[in-house]
Symmetry: C4
Subunit: 248 residues, 4 copies
C-alpha cells in the first residue's frame, strides 16, 4: 500500500520552495520547521497517513485523539510559495523511509511544482557545542556560494557517513530530478532537543528566504539548554578533578 | 497481499456500532469483548486470515485445528446493530497492524455501515490497582459528556504516549471518516489477564448500550485476581519489612 | 512479488494426496518426505523460487550450484496420485511463511486437484524420547479413527501452543477449503536430525497409503541416534551422580 | 515497489558478458570490479535506486551529494560487450536482495542480451591467507575446464554453506535461464579490504577475458595489507610466546 495523502485543499503553487523538517538528531529540523510554520501562520493543507509511521494515535489535553501522521503546510513569503513537511515521526524502517519519501516526491511534490528543496536536520557530534555551525550539503556545487553568504558552512568530511532518512532522500530525489536541493544541518551534541542550534538554522533560513521571525520563545528554550550544558560541563570537570585527585 | 475476509454471511446492518476487542495489555479488551459476544449470543459471520497474523493453527481438546484468525460477530441490542471484532492475536508488526486495520476499515466496515466505534483496551500502570478506572479517549470532544455519565474517566496525560495498535487505529480511522469513535481503556497492572478491570469495562458498556450481562463467570476470575493481588502485595510488604530490618 | 513456480511438466493428477515435508524441529518431516520421494522414485516436476527463501545458492561436490528452492514431486501409488513438497528451507519470516504457503495453495495445489493433505512435522519435547509417538492434528474430527488405526496418537494439549509454519498452514488452508487435512508430528528431543522418529512417521504413512519402503538406510541413521542418545543420557546421569556426591 | 533503473543511455549489447562486483567479505568483488571499470574506462549508463538500499545520500569532498545506488557500466573488450554492476551497498535484507537481483535480472539484463555471467566475491576463512586462491562455483560443469586454465580452483566443500547475496543469486538466475554462469571468490581472512586477493581475482579475469590492466595502484594497497598481515601474525606469535612463558 502506498501512503494516503488526504488533502483538505490543494494550493496552486508555482515554482515553490519545499522545506522538510521531520524528527532527527537533536530534533533541530523539526523544531525549526514547526516554529517557522507557526510564525508564518502557514496553513495545513494535507495529512499523510502511512503504514510506515507508528500505528498509533496521540492524545491532546482534552483526551481527543489524532492519528500519528505527517503534514503538508503552505505559506507565501515575499511572493514565493513555500511548502513545509512536518510531523511527529519519520517512517520506522529504512525501506519504509525510502518508500514514504519516494511516494511523496513522485506523486505530491510534482503536483506542487517544487523548484527548490531544503531539508533541515541535525549533525550529532556527541559532545557539547557552544556555537553550533550550520553545515550544508548540496545537490549542485553552484548552490554553495549563496548558502555560504547566508552563514552555511561546507566542511569536507562532515557529516562523515552521509545523510540518512528524509533529509538525505529529498535532496537525493531532488538532484535526480534536476531540482536545486540542499540539506542544512545544525551542529548539536544530540543529547537533548537543541533549541540553540535550531535558532541558528532559522537565522540561516531568514537570510535565505527573506523572512523575519520572532524567536523569543525559542530563545527561552535555548537558555534552558545553556543551563543544561553548563551543568553537564561542570559535572564533567568535577569528575575530572576527582579522578586527578585520586591519581595524585 | 491484503487480508482475506471469508464471509459465512453478511448481516444487513444499518448505522451499526463497531466494537473492537483484541489482545493487549492485561487482555482487558479481549476478555470484555469475548464475554459480551458469548453473553449476547452474537453470531460469527466472518473469519479474517492475514499474513500479518502468526502463521499457525491452534488445537482444541479433540486435536482439531483452526487457523489463527480474527473474527467478526453480529448482535442486535435494543434495535441497534452491533459488530464485534475479536481474535487470538493482533497483527505481529507495526506496519502489519496498520495494513490489517486499514484494510478492514476501508473494505469491510464501510459495507457494514458503521456509525459509531468503540475500541476496548487496557492501560498498564505497572502497579497493582484496587479499583480500576475506565479511561477514555475520543475522536470528538462532544462525546465526552455521555461517556462520563456512563462512568468513563478522562484524565489528561493518561495514557501518556498515545494508544498503539488496533485500539488506536480504529478510533483514528473513525475520526478521519467523521465517525464518532472512542477508546475505552481499563486500568490494570498488566501483570495478568485482568478480569476485574474487564468487568468495570463491561459495566460502562452496559450503561452505554443498554444491555445487561450475567458477569458471574468473570466475577469468579476477578476473585482469583484479587487473591493474586493480595499475595503480590503481601510479598512486597514482607520484602520491605525485611529490608528495613536489615538496614536497622 | 509472488513466488515463482517453474514447471518442468504438469502431472494430470486427479484427487491427489498432498504431502508436505519441509525442515522443522528434528527435521523429521523433511527426512521422512525426502526418503519416501527417493524410495518411490517420485518425479520432480516443479521448482519454487521465492524472496521468502534465503537468497543463496547451494554447491554440490562438483562445485555446481543450485538455487535455494522448494520442489514439487509426483508419484503414483496403488492408483492414487501423490504430490510431495520438499525443500532445504522454509520461508524465513512469519509473514513470508503465510504468503509462500497461501500462494502455493491458491494457485498451484488447486490446479493439481488435491483432495487430501498430510503435513509432516516434529513435536519437540526437549528431552530424550525412547519410543517416539506420532502425534496427530486434524481438520475434521471424522479423520481420527482411520489415523489411529495407522498408529497416530491424538493427545489433548500436545502440541500445546499450536502448529507453526508450513505444517500448520497447509492443514489450515485445507480445512477452510473443505479438504480433509492432517498434520502428523514425530515426537523428538529436537537435539539432532531424528531418524528414529522419521522412521515411525514413515511406518504410519505406509499403513495409511499402502506403500512399502526399504528403510535400511534410515535405520543406520537411527542406530547412530540411539548411540548419541545413550551418550547424552550417560553424561546426564554422571552429572547427577557428581552433584549428589558434592551435596553429600 | 520495484527498483527504479534510470538509464542515461542504453548500450546495444549483443551476447554480452555480465560481471557483478558488489560489496561482500573483504570487499574483493567490489574492489576488483571497481578497478576494472576504471581501468577499462567503462561508461556508466544506468543508476539503480531501490528501497532495498540504505535510505541515504553520500557526500564528496565538495559536500555535493549523490544517492546511495548501484550502477551499470559498459565496456567493449576484444569485440565482446561487457556490462558491470557495481555499487556501495548490497540490498539490506535477505528478501530485499532477492527482489533487487530478480528485478534486475528479469527486466534489465534480459534487454542487454547477456550470454555469460561472472559474479565476483570473497571467501572468508577467518585466518590470514598468504597466497589467496580464487575459488569457483559454476552453473554448468562444462565451464570448469576453461576456468581452471585461467587459475580458478574448484574445491569440494568450499565455500561450505553456499553463496549468499548477489553473487549467489545471479549465477542461480543465470542457471535457470540457461546462461553459463560462474561465481569467482577470492580467498581472504575477511579482516580488511583485501587488495591482494582482488589482484588475484583480476589476474584470473584478465586471462579469461583477454584484457590487461595496470595494477600498480592495487599493488600498493596489497603491500599495505601484507604489512598489516605481518603485524597481526607477529602479535599472534608474541601472544603465544607470552602464554608459553607464563605456563612454563
Amino acid at each position: 500500500m502506498e501512503s494516503t495523502v488526504i488533502y483538505d485543499s490543494m494550493p496552486r503553487t508555482k515554482k515553490a520552495i519545499f522545506i522538510e523538517g521531520l524528527p532527527g538528531v537533536g530534533d533541530i529540523g523539526k523544531t525549526a520547521a514547526d516554529f517557522i510554520v507557526k510564525s508564518l501562520k502557514a496553513k495545513k493543507f494535507a495529512t499523510i497517513l502511512s503504514e510506515h509511521l507508528p500505528p498509533q494515535v496521540i492524545l491532546d489535553d482534552d483526551c481527543v485523539i489524532r492519528m500519528a501522521s505527517n503534514e503538508l503546510w503552505y505559506a507565501e513569503v515575499n511572493g514565493r510559495d513555500i511548502v513545509f513537511l512536518t510531523g511527529d515521526f519519520q517512517a520506522m524502517t529504512p525501506d519504509g523511509q525510502f518508500l514514504f519519501c519516494k511516494n511523496l516526491f513522485d506523486n505530491d511534490l510534482k503536483k506542487l511544482d517544487i523548484s527548490e528543496i531544503y531539508t533541515l536536520g541535525g549533525y550529532g557530534t556527541g559532545k557539547l557545542v557552544d556555537n553550533p555551525r550550520i553545515l550544508g550539503a548540496v545537490s549542485d556545487i553552484g548552490m554553495k556560494g549563496r548558502l555560504e553568504e547566508c552563514g552555511v558552512v561546507f566542511s569536507p568530511g562532515e557529516p562523515g557517513p552521509g545523510i540518512v532518512g528524509a533529509s538525505g532522500l529529498f535532496v537525493g530525489f531532488g538532484q535526480m530530478a534536476g531540482i536545486p536541493s540542499a540539506c542544512l544541518m545544525g551542529e548539536t551534541s544530540g543529547f537533548f532537543v537543541d533549541y540553540k542550534s535550531a535558532i541558528e538554522l532559522i537565522n540561516v533560513l531568514e537570510k535565505l528566504m527573506g523572512f523575519e521571525i520572532d524567536k523569543k520563545e525559542l530563545l527561552e528554550g535555548a537558555e534552558h539548554i545553556d543551563e543544561l550544558n553548563a551543568r553537564v560541563k561542570e559535572y564533567g570537570e568535577e569528575q575530572e578533578r576527582n579522578s586527578l585527585t585520586y591519581i595524585g
